[in-house]
Amino acid sequence: MKLRVLVIIAALVCATQVLAIDNTPPLPDPAMQQRYLGLINEFRCMQCQNETLADSNVGLAADLRLEIHELLSAGKSDEQIRDYLVARYGDFILFKPRLNARTLWLWAAPGVLLLVGLGIAVRILRQRARLPITDDDPPDASPEV
């Protein structure tokens, strides 16, 4: 019985490996492999534009995974690898856009909108606070003028 459970678990483990898209060999250093896994989830597959390099099974994504693999092996930092890919494919390859003059509005918009909303809310609350309190009367009483 125990053996059967073990066999099933082993089969499930193997099955996920068969399904894996990325067949780049793992890096020898586990910490570096973690960085690799983080990086391939940061970049867009340029051919199938809503997938990450990690999720995509097209040839170019595999090439770029291998490229990242080799850059890591060559001792490049995460930021150097980002620069490397942006220099070739542009900001679009990053799922999380960098903060620069062109993307400033993108980063600032949520904050600005929040401030505008707060401003409107405060104004409305202040106006309400300034209104005389008139509804002390029971609800069905006739309004007095």
């Binding site: 090439d63 770029l64 494919y89 679009f92």
Partner: protein, 185 residues
Amino acid sequence: MKRSLWPLGAFALVVVVLAFGIFNAPRNGSKIIVSPLLGKLAPQFTLPKLIDVGQQYGAGALRGGWHLVNVWGTWCGECRAEHDTLLQIKQQGRVPILGIDWKDEDAAAVAWLAQLGNPYETVVADRDGRVAIDWGVYGAPESFLVSPQGIVVEKQTGAMTMDDWRSKFLPHLGALAPAGGKGGA
């Protein structure tokens, strides 16, 4: 009065933002991405030639004259659609075309050129796609116009038509009459 204008103002703002988005959207769909390579030096590379087997095409070769660099592959349907345009550009004789055969089988590429005609001055084989990464290629066909100083001045992503060639690329090459124009008279 002032209060009643609030929703109208908000609506006008939304209209302005959406109109900006619509009028600035690229015409041939959202897939066109401006290459960061434009205005920069073309990447250096050395690759084996496809037809003159055993020879290398070297780093500094894209200097001293205009070059059109075309990335293609026999597996690429759009490349077949583009092939006639490339043959016409070759006929015009304004600029030599360097073909980068991207992640392809040499035999298939040679057969393709024999069958459809060869528009290229030189074809190099980028078998593992390394050079294509340096050029920021993400979907064949892609074409780059490289100046005599080695600067990438224009790029076409996807199949080039003669209209694209005339409107985007030819103006960079100066006001010389196309072959067969002035020269014939």
